[in-house]
Point group: C2
Chain length 476, copies 2
């Protein structure tokens, strides 16, 4: 059954593509099945034939189906990894988020996967557990003494955290703001949901980088925005191609560490971006998600720090620096939007637990947070360099592109290898690596031979073994 979700603004051909792909991975459509002809399917669904052709074309490009002259499109054998994924109900980036539901029971590797090269969870040793415990107990006493253990929290979040965060971001990222402009949120997606509600009704479109952070796109769609993309090259967002249109509410971008390519936007493009924003009236949603994590140089200042026209909404989280399980982020509004926020969310309460806000405020104030970040950078540097050195043994086949930042890098294969087969080969050796397809709005534009690898969830002593397995997988 094909359903087009009402008001889902992702293009119809993508919806159709996703649904057919799902039927294939879930086994409803089986190897050798012949799909309906595009004309007849188009007429059944009441959509244009072009839409069906686009969806089929995409499925051909990804190797799910193949055209057979005189017969139509035939379902191909499912790559093994898709079967594995379908069987375990994992969903790629969040594969590790499925709870065991059994207290005290250690999660065992499933399906022979020994190393999961995700960037979205951390080895437990990276979490400052002792500090967190100490400050949790201490702050609970403070809040009790202040009669603030059981109160609703101001919609902007706790003032003590906002005060310390302001100082910290000014020092580390050059961010210029007052405490009044800072809103503490439950993470990036909630920040973006707020932004959508602030912009709604005026403009219809939000721009994204291509490739970009797919989870942001979902929030824009769910708030009824149209999403369009702007190309990314080796220097990040191609600002020269920003469309000169007035229906654009904002551009969501990652100037200091492009996700997922890792590019850093040069200063010239930063000014071009700002000047485009000024001329079109669009906001720049600057997602600075992991820019504290730079282990070679000092990070360059944020775009917000050079914004003279109040057009940057600065976004960050504690997911990379502390833990994604803490669910805390922040957004910094331009002064002119602060009042709009106050009015529109007048009756709202903060969604972020007060105790956690207080603890992080304390970590920052005491300098423990800085110390923790230095430690993270030290560890990530060692992990990255071990991967880089190891994988460079395959330099005739692939290029490692990391740049001393964050918790991930891309692999670009010099031959036009197929992502699914590379992923499947790695899985057969017990290593989970990720497709870059998820980051592309236009799946067909995704270069087939690029993979996304994270090193936040692998211990340093396991990297040699992991690299050996990857080399074995990809040397055949």
């Amino acid at each position: 059954m094909i359903n087009f979700v009402e008001r889902n603004r992702s293009p119809k051909y993508i919806q159709l593509y996703n649904q057919i792909k799902e039927e294939i991975t879930q086994g409803t459509l089986k190897e050798g099945d012949i799909l309906s002809g595009s004309r007849s399917l188009a007429s059944t669904l009441g959509i244009s034939r072009n839409t069906v052709d686009n969806a089929y074309g995409q499925l051909v490009a990804e190797g799910y189906i193949a055209s057979r002259r005189g017969v139509g499109y035939e379902v191909l054998p499912l790559p093994r990894l898709d079967r594995i994924i379908a069987a375990t109900h994992s969903d790629g980036e969040n594969a590790d988020s499925v709870s065991t539901g059994i207290v005290g029971h250690r999660v065992e590797p499933q399906n022979g996967i020994k190393y999961d090269l995700t960037n979205s969870s951390h080895t437990s040793d990276l979490f400052p557990k002792a500090m967190w415990k100490k400050y949790t107990l201490e702050c609970m006493e403070t809040l009790a003494a202040e009669s603030r253990l059981s109160i609703y929290i101001d919609k902007k979040g706790d003032y003590y955290l906002r005060k310390n965060l302001r100082t910290y971001l000014e020092r580390i990222r050059g961010v210029v703001c007052s405490e009044e402009q800072i809103i503490i949120t439950s993470g990036m997606q909630q920040s973006l949901d707020f932004v959508c509600k602030l912009l709604k009704g005026k403009k219809s479109t939000i721009l994204m980088e291509e490739p970009g952070y797919n989870k942001a796109a979902s929030v824009f769609y769910n708030n009824d925005f149209c999403v369009e993309t702007v190309r990314v090259d080796e220097n990040g967002l191609v600002t020269g191609e920003l469309p000169d249109r007035l229906d654009i509410g904002a551009i969501y971008c990652t100037p200091s560490h492009q996700f997922p390519t890792g590019a850093v936007l040069p200063i010239g493009r930063r000014y071009e971006l700002l000047s485009w924003a000024k001329s079109t009236g669009a906001y720049i949603l600057e997602d600075d998600f992991d820019s504290e994590l730079q282990y070679y140089q000092k990070p360059i200042p944020s775009v917000q720090s050079v914004d003279a026209n109040e057009q940057v909404i600065y976004l960050g989280t504690f997911s990379k620096g502390l833990s994604p399980a803490i669910r805390m982020g922040y957004m910094i509004l331009p002064k002119s939007l602060t009042e709009v926020f106050e009015n529109r969310f007048k009756d709202y309460n903060s969604t972020v637990p007060l105790l956690n806000q207080y603890v992080i405020g304390r970590l920052i104030e005491t300098g423990m947070y800085d110390r923790h970040i230095r430690r993270l950078n030290h560890i990530f540097k060692k992990r990255y360099e071990k991967f880089e050195a190891g994988l460079n043994r395959l330099s005739d086949r692939l290029t490692v592109s990391g740049n001393g930042r964050g918790q991930y890098f891309l692999l670009t294969f010099s031959r036009q290898d197929n992502q699914d087969r590379l992923i499947e080969a790695a899985a057969r050796q017990g290593v989970r690596v990720y497709s870059t397809m998820q980051f592309w709005q236009d799946k067909a534009a995704c270069p087939p031979g690029t993979l996304f690898l994270g090193f936040s969830k692998i211990d340093i002593e396991d990297i040699d073994d992991c690299v050996e397995r990857l080399i074995k997988a990809w040397s055949v």
Copy 2:
């Protein structure tokens, strides 16, 4: 400057009313100022004269302005309490949520207010601090051992909590569901935001009880729904007056403890509500916010428990039972909406810290949560009875309507006293009591002589003194 917020669906006259009221409380409009004539203001703003008349009428009813023959409407002296509130930037129900920003500094009573009869924060002794500490430390170790300290959490929340919550709600509230139907959220407003996104695009209107929970209305407005109301009488929602229309997406209601009147919806009306939902296709948003807190009888089962047609979305939080500062709630979707949720929020992560979810799961599983609720009920019963006995000394002037549930009651004055003057008189004696005006969408329909009092933030030994002060305030 009067601004009509684009796409704000609260009626224009309410917007106008709010803005003029704000100018008065903030001192932009001063005692003795004469407002523009309604015809000229209507023409300046490009709105109908009727809208201006309604706003002015409301301001007259509340005593902000008065009509002076041949002159127009004159601004009256501001009641003292409004001046106090304006000066301290407090916002009524959340007055206590303003942080001091100074660690270790105890919040001192401001403006001579010694007792704050809010229902939205608790005395610190009600929070199970020792248990919370114990389980926090224990669960942190468990999560570390499971390699789950630093992961993204499934959008529905942690399975362990959902499993325990399911058993708990089945036992306490008769809720029938599987773990798959439970979504853990950051509180009621986030649950409602999800609901809006699930219903959006199909129906345009959400119904509320009048009076009802004003903070829910804000979420509906922010998601572009029209809000209409249905009357509440001494038995709660007047189900016979539910409109038979197909544009209604849902009714938001509080059947087990109407907010703020305290009424319990009789079983006959529950079935009438369900049958109306069946015939119109609307969902029932059953907010069961504090129904564990019943100190005389066992709570009657939820409407969800007798729903045969999958039309109830059951909503709850831990704000009343544990603490509003924890920011945790849940919603239970009908089976048929579970898949819609999965699709629409496919790429979302939970916004609720995993550790907190785990701790609450543990509290429930070990039976400590039940024990804690029994203790709360014991304390609230004593507090309520002390208030009731004390205030009944004024029974010639007022009626106390609590019914052995929750953390609040209403006072109805037998003479048609003015809320603002009653509140001001109490404030002069150092007691903050609350207007019921905030709970009415149509401010003009609010009975002038009703007050809203909570007893979650006052210690038992202070109640005698507090009652004496109220009696002194209202005996004049």
